[in-house]
């Protein structure tokens, strides 16, 4: 999946990433999200992923002035659009690399959308989802592969 995406995608317009807990792996896909799987606290064995955009993406977008995010409880399938970021009079759709249910959204972005640029890997996270199909994580690019991919398209 990642390989086919690398062949067909020439310029990543929006690369999303996910900040993850230190122990969890950091996975990315070419245009899309980097998801870290974090086991949830408490009971059950649901994997929680935090989604955000990569540094490459935030630079490509320019100053984010508005974040349109889904409601908690929204169920997402892989590749579904879950929101949009606005910068320079352009609204960029956000597509989810993973299937699951939205458990939390970053409320801080309502007042401070610039966090997405300033701290894309930490305070600028977008949403958290409880994964319905953790095997999808295997289809995402690793951080190293992503960085290699970005270098190859940047020239």
């Amino acid at each position: 999946m990642a390989l086919r995406a690398v062949r067909s995608v020439r310029a990543a317009a929006c690369s999303l990433r996910v900040a993850s807990a230190p122990a969890a792996p950091c996975l990315m896909r070419p245009w899309g999200l980097r998801a870290g799987a974090v086991p949830t606290l408490g009971t059950g064995s649901t994997l929680l992923s935090v989604l955000g955009i990569s540094n490459f993406a935030q630079e490509a977008l320019g100053d984010v002035v508005y974040c349109s995010l889904p409601e908690v409880g929204t169920k997402l399938n892989k590749q579904d659009e879950f929101g949009a970021l606005e910068s320079v009079k352009a609204a960029s759709e956000l597509n989810s690399p993973l299937s699951g249910e939205v458990t939390e959204i970053n409320e801080a972005l309502a007042e401070n959308p610039g966090l997405v640029n300033k701290s894309c890997y930490e305070d600028g996270w977008l949403i958290k989802i409880a994964l319905s199909d953790p095997s999808e994580l295997d289809e995402l690019m690793s951080k190293e592969a992503y960085e290699k991919y970005i270098k190859s398209i940047e020239g």
Binding site: S8, V9, R10, A11, A13, C14, W31, A60, L61, G62, D63, V65, Y66, S68, E81, A84, E86, S87, V88, K89, A90, A91, S92, E93, N95
Partner: protein, 225 residues
Amino acid sequence: MRLPAVRLVRLSRIPYTELLALQERWLRRLQAEPGTEAGALLLCEPAGPVYTSGLRGGLTPEETARLRALGAEVRTTGRGGLATFHGPGQLLCHPVLDLRRLGLRLRTHVAALEACAVRLCEFQGLSGARARPPPYTGVWLGERKVCAIGVRCGRHITSHGLALNCSTDLVWFDHIVPCGLVGTGVTSLSEELQRHVTVDEVIPPFLEAFKETYKCTLISEDSSN
């Protein structure tokens, strides 16, 4: 190297909703088979007055009611930017493009739209046209905006675009704060050149500016790629 070919879809005066429906069809076509085509350039002149708001909004329910009472349509869109007006006398251009096929980032696409409008103004003999940085994205003649810009991008495919005032009745803009920029003005090519400039007159030089800026060719909607 062969230049990418963008399909020219030149529409006459059509209702804004028809343009949106056509845009949607092109979006689905390009998103369904990514990488196979560069995209389509949709051009039209709105048949009637319509106010639109963007992703962030830009029009309150009270404003919407007031504008409808004036006889205008009011539509929400998912584009960037706040409130603006579209109507007869305006060139409305929605390039539905695959950014990767054209070697563009979203920001360079926005800059290219501005460059097209600036070039078009130059072709019309107006040398002072300029783009301005955010939040003043758009093309300006002095302190007045002649061309508004607002785009959307999903899966590398763009939609919405620019609105260039040729002979638009500018009074319609008095009823809103255009693009949310208090204290700025709007203008048109007719206003600046002090003669009636039609949308039809402006289309050929606009197409030249587009091909030059985007480094592409324009082919008919139906021709095989």
